[in-house]
């Protein structure tokens, strides 16, 4: 198994930069997920780690050795592709054994390793079939099997689940997590699906416009997003933003005047903020709840939003309530499935200020001080 280090990695095509200043350290046995919208450079980065794309600048080290100019094979890497990329004219056995054969492994050894991997993935009864005779899920397993038999130091996955249907995707995701535990292998996994990222990753690297926005554990990204982009990328439905003006700010509290006139007090590190500056306040849908009855005016720790319900999406276990506050501001809230709300109702939503996020005019987050407090409570 391997430890991978990327320092100051960059990539440009004909002078136009695609990736810049990528610094990342992947520990032995870790599963790191690269996530971001399409075009953010995550697949390019993966292909650079693999050795399929040249590295324009910076150093890539695997187990301390610079591998910038080594071909994929010598880096000890196996990759699973989005389209599976099985050799159509070879049987499953042939597909899985091809790499070993090139490496010069004997027939007996090839057979043992292929059968062992096939058993682990429950495809041992398919060994003599051709890829076109397999279902999507089976092909996916063969592609993973082909990676496993090589016993690589590092596994790379390029959106391996995106060609599967929803049910199969969940199942395969769970199996991948199990596989990662069993093999204790170092893995890098690229996806644009944040649920995959959150559930699979030991660590998530959020990328946008060729740069790493933030790297951290799933909960860290959720609780302490570094900027507006990460906050809006992690979480479903997407976080709501309301603009506000800074009334007062210190290292422990930020006093804000929300658009619409509400004054609130958020426990966050406002050291970087100027009084009078415009900021954005982020509120996650799951942190808002409808106010029951005619509750009295809110305390400074609770803020309240009045508006008209424009849409209710019923998911069963919860409702998504779309509430229009003013002409151009709409909030989404997640409330329990038994809530009685209809389109056109005028209702109020409340949220604890401790659960809000504050982003300055450049989109950089003010460090939240509340989550530890909330967890302790």
């Amino acid at each position: 198994m391997a430890q991978v280090e990327l320092s100051k990695i960059s990539k440009s095509y004909d002078g136009s930069p695609v990736l810049q200043d990528i610094d990342l350290r992947i520990d032995d046995g870790e599963l790191v997920v690269l996530v971001g919208p399409s075009g953010c450079g995550k697949s390019t980065l993966l292909r650079m780690i693999c050795g399929l794309e040249d590295i324009t600048g910076g150093e890539l080290r695997i187990d301390g050795v610079v591998v910038n100019h080594l071909p994929p094979m010598q880096r000890g890497i196996a990759m699973v592709f989005q389209s599976y990329a099985l050799y159509p004219h070879m049987t499953v056995r042939g597909n899985m054994a091809f790499g070993l054969k090139i490496q010069g492994a004997g027939k007996a050894e090839r057979d043992t390793r292929v059968v062992a991997a096939a058993k682990a993935l429950h495809i041992d009864h398919l060994l003599d079939r051709l890829p076109r005779e397999l279902s999507g899920g089976q092909r996916q397993r063969v592609a993973i099997g082909r990676a496993i038999v090589r016993e690589p130091r590092l596994f790379l996955f390029d959106e391996p689940l995106s060609n599967l249907d929803a049910a199969l995707r969940v199942k395969t995701r769970i199996e991948l997590a199990r596989l990662h535990r069993e093999l204790a292998a170092t893995m890098v996994y690229v996806t644009h699906d944040q649920v995959e990222a959150m559930t699979l990753g030991d660590r998530i690297v959020v990328m946008h416009e060729g740069r790493i926005q933030q790297a951290g554990s799933p909960l860290e990204l959720y609780e302490h997003p570094a900027n507006r982009f990460v906050a809006s990328f992690i979480g479903s439905p997407t976080i709501n933003f309301i603009s506000a003006t800074v009334l007062s700010a210190n290292a422990e509290r930020v006093g804000l005047l929300l658009q619409g006139g509400t004054v609130i007090d958020v426990p966050a590190d406002g050291g970087q903020l100027q009084v009078g500056a415009r900021v954005d306040v982020g509120i996650r849908p799951e942190h808002m709840a409808p106010v029951q009855g005619n509750a009295p005016a809110p305390s400074p720790d609770v803020c309240r939003f009045d508006g008209e319900v424009t849409l209710v999406e019923q998911l069963g276990e919860s409702h998504l309530i779309y509430l229009r506050l003013w002409d151009d501001v709409e909030l989404v809230a997640r409330s329990p499935g038994h809530t009685q709300v209809r389109i056109g109702d005028r209702i109020a939503l409340r949220a604890q200020t401790a659960q809000l996020y504050v982003f300055d005019s450049d989109g950089i987050a003010c460090r939240r001080l509340s989550s530890e407090v909330l967890e302790a409570a």
């Binding site: 994929p72 990759m79 790499g99 090139i102």
Partner: protein, 285 residues
């Protein structure tokens, strides 16, 4: 219930099918007629050929004398062999070099790549026969006149441009991820070409094989000017020896022609299943 349930629609669909079949049938007839005529007359006596060229052979006119003459002619076998050698060698070289060139031009971006592709495409547009004089001079200078090598070289030049163009088109359709997967497996570039790419474009290779093989086998021009000597004549050229200035041995000519068609027909049958796949590839996927 289905598209044929309505009588009017059913009639229309039958009418359409009939039209298509009539067109195809008519065209087939047009193409097959001369061949059938050659085959029929090759087993008739000289008198039978001239009295009733379109008629079936009767008990009176039926004869295999043409075939006996041709097969008994030792030189004929030799010419046959020459044709097979020239066509075979050219075909193998064109397919191998053409596929490799196509792979190189599509897979690797190098300086002059576009220019080279354009140069090869130019070869499709300009008929090679325009250069006959220059080719002859070159062959004389190289001392290759009256050798099969001269023919093979010319045919390779003639066949390569089209082969490169068609095969490039197909190689481009081989998914990038497949090549990447092979590179991850540590497969060398030559092996990727021979063991991953080539098996996938087999239908295209068969298509190119048929397209190149037929004109080479049937060519009269270059054998006539580059290798007309007795021991290097190809079958197409050799048949001419039955056509005299004053008297033509039609039995011999027709029998030799019939025999000359056979090998190409066999090869075509061999490739045709792949050929159809090659032509329809991509259309039904």
């Amino acid at each position: 219930m289905n598209q044929f349930s309505h009588p009017a629609r059913r009639a229309a669909s039958i009418g359409r099918a009939a039209l298509v079949h009539m067109t195809l049938g008519g065209y087939s007839l047009l193409v097959l007629c001369p061949i059938v005529l050659v085959l029929l007359n090759s087993i008739k006596t000289r008198a039978g050929i001239f009295d009733n060229p379109l008629g079936l052979p009767t008990a009176l006119t039926l004869t295999l004398s043409g075939y006996v003459k041709v097969l008994g002619n030792a030189a004929m076998g030799h010419m046959f062999l020459n044709s097979v050698i020239v066509t075979g060698a050219s075909l193998i070289a064109i397919l191998l070099l053409g596929a490799m060139a196509a792979w190189g031009l599509t897979e690797y971006g190098f300086r002059g790549n576009r220019l080279l592709s354009l140069f090869l495409a130019f070869g499709i547009m300009v008929p090679i026969r325009l250069g006959s004089v220059a080719i002859l001079q070159t062959m004389v200078a190289l001392n290759l006149v009256n050798t099969l090598t001269a023919l093979v070289l010319v045919y390779i030049a003639q066949g390569l441009p089209l082969a490169v163009m068609i095969l490039s088109e197909f190689i481009q359709q081989v998914p990038q991820e497949l090549k990447d997967a092979a590179r991850c497996d540590g497969v060398g570039e030559y092996r990727i070409f021979f063991q991953v790419v080539l098996p996938l474009i087999r239908p295209a290779v068969a298509t190119v094989a048929v397209f190149t093989m037929v004109p080479i086998w049937n060519d009269l021009w270059f054998p006539l000017i580059l290798a007309p000597s007795e021991h290097t004549q190809t079958i197409t050229l050799g048949v001419q020896q039955f056509i005299g200035q004053y008297a033509t041995d039609w039995n011999g000519v027709l029998a030799a022609l019939s025999l000359a068609v056979l090998p190409i027909l066999m090869l075509y049958a061999l490739f045709s299943r792949q050929l159809i796949r090659g032509i329809t590839a991509g259309a039904v996927k």
